[in-house]
């Protein structure tokens, strides 16, 4: 079994729900975002970029690409970063020495460091901590804990707390546009494979940062939007 995720950019509406549920479910401390959504070339919220005389604002969610050839895993001196049997790149918080070499190595800038002891948010009484409230260990390795140690690196785990129970990652569960599809790459009947075959909606897949030869297991579907869409073109809509 090998987990993969598809992000259909033609469907993505740029709402950032994936980023927020990711943070909420995974108890990501203040300042830490495993998942982020910006429009390529127009990083300011609600702006466009001029392309070929037209405008574009193509939303592109980016989280850990779960690389088959993960530079972060190669970089990690202690083996804290490792790939589990499902192909998911995880961090063992107990083994991370906080050298941040993995952050240097990751071309996607998805790795986040606990620069301070996570604070929780002020509540009516004391502090309130959101997120999955239990530790998750994989072969003894601490791959998730709501109580983050200071000085360690963290990142998307494909929601190991849910996927280890057969569920989908929170971002895929919550995407209101159904733009995120998760499943077993090896299983031809999985949601992932079905979507990849174009059985749901035929689209062209591609991966981010090919120049880094990372072989991601997060695959994007190209948007069908035309750059000159301001003008539009005729005769493409079939009457039914």
């Amino acid at each position: 079994m090998k987990y993969g995720m598809i992000i259909d950019l033609d469907r993505c509406i740029g709402c950032r729900t994936c980023a927020v549920v990711c943070k909420n479910h995974n108890a990501e401390p203040e300042g830490i975002w495993w998942n982020r959504v910006f429009a390529s070339g127009a990083p300011n919220y609600a702006t466009a970029v001029a392309v070929d005389g037209g405008m574009r604002s193509e939303f592109l969610p980016v989280s850990c690409q779960q690389c088959e050839n993960a530079p972060c895993e190669t970089a990690c001196p202690t083996g804290a970063t490792y790939t589990d049997e499902n192909g998911v790149v995880l961090v063992d918080y107990d083994s991370c020495i906080g050298c941040r070499y993995c952050m240097v190595a990751c071309p996607y800038n998805v790795r986040q460091f606990n620069w301070q002891k996570p604070q929780g948010i002020p509540a009516t009484e004391g502090t309130y901590s959101y997120g999955y409230p239990f530790e998750v260990r994989q072969d003894g390795k601490l791959v998730y804990t709501p109580d983050r140690p200071e000085g360690v690196v963290e990142k998307c785990t494909f929601c190991v707390q849910y996927t280890s129970e057969g569920g989908d990652p929170a971002c895929c569960v919550a995407c209101p546009a159904n733009a995120r599809i998760f499943g077993d790459i090896d299983d031809p009947d999985s949601a992932y494979s079905q979507y990849m075959k174009g059985l749901v909606s035929p689209k062209e897949p591609y991966t981010l940062g090919d120049e880094y030869h990372t072989d991601p297991k997060v695959v994007y579907m190209r948007s069908s939007r035309k750059a000159d869409a301001r003008v539009g073109s005729e005769g493409e809509v079939t009457e039914r």
């Binding site: 390529s40 070339g41 970089a75 020495i97 360690v152 880094y212």
Partner: protein, 406 residues
Amino acid sequence: MKETLLGRSGKALLACAIAAAVGLGAWIAMMNGGLLATTSMSNIFNWGLLIAVFAFLVGFGAGGQFVASYVVLGRRERLMPYATVMQGVAVAGAAGAGVAILADLGHPLHMLALLMHPNPASPLTWDMIALTVFIVVAVIGWLALARDWKSKRVWMAIGLVAALALQVVEGCLFALQSARAWWHSFIMPVDFIVVAFVCGLALAVIVSAASKRQDALGAARSFANLLLAFVILHVVLSLIEVIGLAFESTGGAAMALSLIGRYIVLYLIELALPLAAVLFLKVKEVQGDRAAHDHLIGPSKREYAWSSVLVIVGMFAHRLMLLYPALGGATLFTGLSNQPSAEWAYPVSTGFFAGARETWALTQAYLPSPVEWLSALLPLGIAGLIAILAFGIAARWHDRRPMSED
């Protein structure tokens, strides 16, 4: 002799010890206060001053060894007295570098994990091994020189190999990261060796210039001539890197170039300042030679020393410039999914928001915090301590030796 030695180096020792203690205090403050509150680092600029100091000191570690091995293996008898000193510098630099990298760890308590299950694929593991091996070899080499072992040439040869390996590994530590266009080049390990030579030789010039020996000026001149060559080599390699980047039409290269532009002053300090310093010495030498054919006059000891200090300042700038163009900006570049180009930097979650600063950014202007500057005194102080102790001990051993070489 003994009195003077202790008197002179006693003050230096005390200064280094105080520096190390202050650095230690700063480090403890960083660990207690949290890196967010005490440093200027972020998820963009996630390696800061301590890594620059690490690279800086490692240059002296390997550089010291290079000079010592060059002198001993090349049988440069005139320079032989400086070999032991430079071998001490090798030990000190490497040890200081080790301290720097340990001090930079976010969670040093987990260090056991590195010993229990090191990742053989990680250049950082190689680096830890290379550094440890080098420190051991350098200490033995220093003993061999200080105690004048018969096998000292063998140890100098082994030391040379260890130092070369260390610098290659250091270079690879950076060069293998394809995410960082500024580093991702085969020139990087070569330049690491070159820069180590520059550091070692510059210090050797200073040491010889500071020496009261009769031929000190001549020794300084010998080292300075070599220094000239390596500084020029470094400048040439650097220019090749920049030209290479300019021809690379990737977002990463564009980002690196733009960051070089932003830190152009620092880059000029790295390249122009050492070049000017060594050229100044060379010009002075040539002028001196012309003025008196039979009598070697040229730069004064003071000029040698100060010029070399400028070279070392340049090398410190170089270690900072190792970081700025590589870590000053995002490394993910995207384009429209249905168009080929991908050259727009993609924002990074800085981690700053918890410190009431921007949540997202494309670049970060990193200026080490005061605490970071103070923390740098820990590895620098320890390196200084070791170097001075090594010098003092070697001198004492030397004095007790029945037959002095000079």
